[in-house]
């Protein structure tokens, strides 16, 4: 992804020219050229999607600069499925998941990083083990659990298996561990309770990690397909990705123009969000050490 290519360049611009590690001369040219090339390769599919989405379908595979522009593909895509409802569902879904993940992750990470209790290391090892298991391997078992709770075909059912995120807990624990113990002690001397210490000392210092993790989580669940497809049956519970299927009927022919319009439409909120907060995201990623 470009996220990987771009951050490498950013510090070079933001740091003064006397930086001894900044590339100069030939290596600067080479490096810039490489970065531009990678960015171009990354952006090509997106550029094609934009081209196809804004032109009549005759021009999907014909590149003529004078081709007429149209918004018809978007209106056709919008009318093909109840996308307003799907947008709402996806929005509720990612918010629900992220909120639960942050609360659970913060509390668990704090306990694992700073509290001493019996079996702490075993608990942490078990959480880490969850990282090694592909979520797809658990689908049947998860479905059975949801069916037992009577939750099949609800947004809650899509969210529930993901709210205790091993990755989130691990990441936050590592971040909390880097917070100097002195700050913690100072807060305690002032009479702060453990929860206050967490909220006033640890959480503010871990802000870059929260932002980076939030982005990863939101984009993952925005794009997740298989589990929502399996566990939902009705329009009321299905997210955008499952709604997009309407265009993948290979039996009846494929219309790339409409597919591209629909794809742009559904990924637009994420793309716009990323472009707006690009700098914050990139910096958070560098500080949090996630690639």
């Amino acid at each position: 992804m470009s996220a990987a290519a771009k951050p490498a360049k950013l510090p070079a611009g933001s740091i003064t020219r006397t930086d001894p590690y900044a590339p100069t001369g030939l290596s600067l040219t080479l490096e810039s050229f490489g970065a531009i090339l990678l960015a171009l390769i990354w952006v090509l599919p997106l550029a094609y999607a934009v081209w196809a989405a804004f032109h009549p379908s005759e021009f999907t595979t014909r590149f003529e600069l004078t081709a007429p522009l149209t918004l018809e593909n978007f209106s056709r895509a919008w009318a093909a499925a109840p996308f307003a409802r799907y947008f709402l569902n996806t929005f509720v879904l990612v918010t629900l998941i992220l909120a639960c993940q942050l609360v659970l992750g913060t509390l668990a990470a704090y306990a694992l990083a700073r509290q001493d209790f019996w079996g702490r290391d075993v608990a942490f090892a078990l959480i880490l083990a969850q990282l090694m298991i592909m979520p797809d391997a658990l689908i049947v078992e998860n479905y059975r659990t949801m069916a037992k709770f009577g939750l099949v075909d609800t947004i809650t059912a899509i969210a529930l298996p993901y709210i205790a995120s091993a990755f989130g807990i691990f990441l936050l624990r590592q971040t909390f561990k880097t917070v100097p113990k002195e700050l913690d002690d100072a807060a305690r001397v002032e009479g702060a309770s453990p929860l206050q210490v967490l909220m006033k000392v640890y959480v503010p210092l871990a802000k870059p990690t929260y932002i980076a993790y939030g982005l990863v989580s939101v984009s993952y669940h925005w794009n997740n397909f298989l589990w929502p497809l399996l566990v939902t049956n009705s329009v009321e519970a299905r997210p955008l990705t499952v709604g997009l299927q309407v265009f993948s009927s290979t039996d009846q022919g494929i219309d790339w123009a409409v597919i591209c319009a629909a794809t742009l439409m559904t990924s637009a909120p994420l793309l716009v969000g990323f472009l707006l907060f690009q700098r914050q995201f990139v910096q958070s990623f560098m500080r949090a050490g996630i690639k």
């Binding site: 595979t61 059975r144 009577g150 947004i155 809650t156 709604g243 993948s248 009846q252």
Partner: protein, 430 residues
């Protein structure tokens, strides 16, 4: 906090979203029905109309269609639900998934519901070509519904330009090649601007290849589904013909031809003849801006084409009452009139010969004779390739076909390798 409290809390989080499921759980006499199409397509409206029509005639029963996406996604969804104990009572899945569903112990044969003479007559009323994929070991496991077959589409304008009779499609392999040679156009630099013929080979090349291999006089798998015949000389000959169209005669695009965009190439006059499913009939009719013809696939040693598409299956884990209700719905929706109307609305083949005798179908065919081509081809059609471990056995063939088409393996070697792989997979089932 007990489970009830937890659920209330969870539902409050999701707001009104959780309500439909709860309401649904309270109604008992309902047939859940997985249907392989995405929500919002034109077909969902038809199915919804059938469901409410059936409910209107049978007050105590209710069919609840659940649109589950593509065939592939639908079977994953159905098997997941089956393994967790709450499968859909009725589903439409690929006819080729029959052995998989039997091996998973997921379905019941229809025979136990067929009791009266009228039921027996109904069971015997379908095209035998479709039943080949619905019966094994003397039992009927599926009832054909959303079925299709491969046919040849040609562009009449381009035929005229090339000096061919626009009303006559190629009848034999030799004619097909000769026509394609006339229909292939090259610019001054020798680049092809218009291909003669296109047979798609992405995704499921085995299905289109089955047209060729049947025409060459071979059958790819036995009815018991435990033995394949990929290395038969006739199969190799069929593959050689396909490979030659592209590599030797250069009238067919080289390499892998994309299934999904083949109709688009046809609309844009990039190709003059294409092989594709009858399911594309309505699509081609709406989007082709030139007169087009639809014909039987050309004959090699014989005429031939595979059937394809979906069957009704009834779940084994459903209650007896639910199964009976599902059977009633299947009988209701496959009457000659409904099968005819379904075919007119969607372009799928009507599954029983007497559908073509109905007034609605006769009127439609008078307007649009292409709709009858599929019926005329059915007497020559064979079962779509289907075996135990269907996905893997089919993949062995797909890989071999694609290797030959891209030129990485000779046809003979590609088919021998595919056969060896299929043998290895199928040995435990004999």
């Amino acid at each position: 906090m007990d489970r009830r409290e937890f659920m209330t809390g969870a539902m409050a989080l999701a707001g009104s979203v959780a309500m439909p499921a709860l309401a649904r759980a309270q109604q008992a006499a309902e047939i859940s029905f997985f249907y392989p199409v995405a929500v919002g397509g034109p077909i969902t409206k038809l199915i919804d109309a059938y469901a409410s029509g059936f409910a209107g005639e049978n007050a105590s029963l209710k069919v609840n269609p659940i649109y589950a996406g593509t065939y592939q996604e639908t079977i994953v969804k159905a098997l997941t639900a089956h393994k967790s104990g709450t499968p859909p009572v009725l589903s439409v899945l690929l006819s080729t998934d029959m052995f998989t569903l039997i091996d998973e112990d997921a379905i019941v044969p229809f025979d136990e519901f067929v009791k009266t003479d009228e039921d027996k007559k109904w069971l015997a009323s379908f095209f035998p070509g479709f039943m080949e994929n619905s019966q094994t070991g003397g039992k009927t496991w599926g009832i054909p519904f959303q079925r299709s077959t491969v046919v040849l589409y040609w562009n009449k304008e381009l035929f005229k330009e090339a000096g061919l009779d626009p009303e006559t499609p190629p009848k034999t392999w030799a004619e097909q090649l000769a026509f394609a040679q006339k229909l292939t156009k090259r610019d001054a630099a020798g680049n092809v601007t218009q291909w003669g013929i296109q047979i798609p080979s992405s995704g499921f090349p085995y299905w289109l290849f089955q047209g060729l291999s049947t025409q060459a006089g071979s059958i790819l798998a036995n009815p018991a589904g435990d033995k394949t015949d990929y290395a038969n000389p006739a199969v190799v000959e069929a593959l050689q013909y396909w490979v030659d169209l592209a590599q030797k005669h250069k009238v067919h695009p080289p390499g892998i031809v994309e299934w999904g965009t083949t109709p688009r190439d046809f609309f844009e006059r990039k190709v003059a003849m294409m092989w594709t499913t009858t399911g594309n009939l309505t699509n081609v009719r709406t989007n082709a801006k030139f007169p087009f013809g639809v014909g039987l696939l050309p004959a090699g040693k014989r005429l031939g084409s595979p059937t394809g598409g979906g069957n009704f299956y009834i779940s084994k884990k459903a209650s007896k009452a639910e199964q009976e209700a599902a059977f009633k719905f299947v009988r209701w929706i496959t009457t000659p009139e409904r099968a005819a109307q379904w075919s007119i609305d969607t372009g799928y083949v009507a599954v029983r010969p007497d559908s073509y005798e109905t007034a609605a179908m006769k009127k439609y065919a008078a307007d649009f004779p292409a709709a009858l081509v599929a019926r005329d081809q059915l007497p020559h059609a064979v079962a779509e390739l289907s075996t135990h471990e269907n996905q893997r056995v089919t993949k062995a063939l797909n890989d071999g076909l694609q290797a030959a088409l891209t030129g990485t393996k000779a046809p003979q070697k590609a088919m021998e390798d595919a056969q060896a792989e299929a043998e290895r997979i199928l040995k435990p089932y004999r």
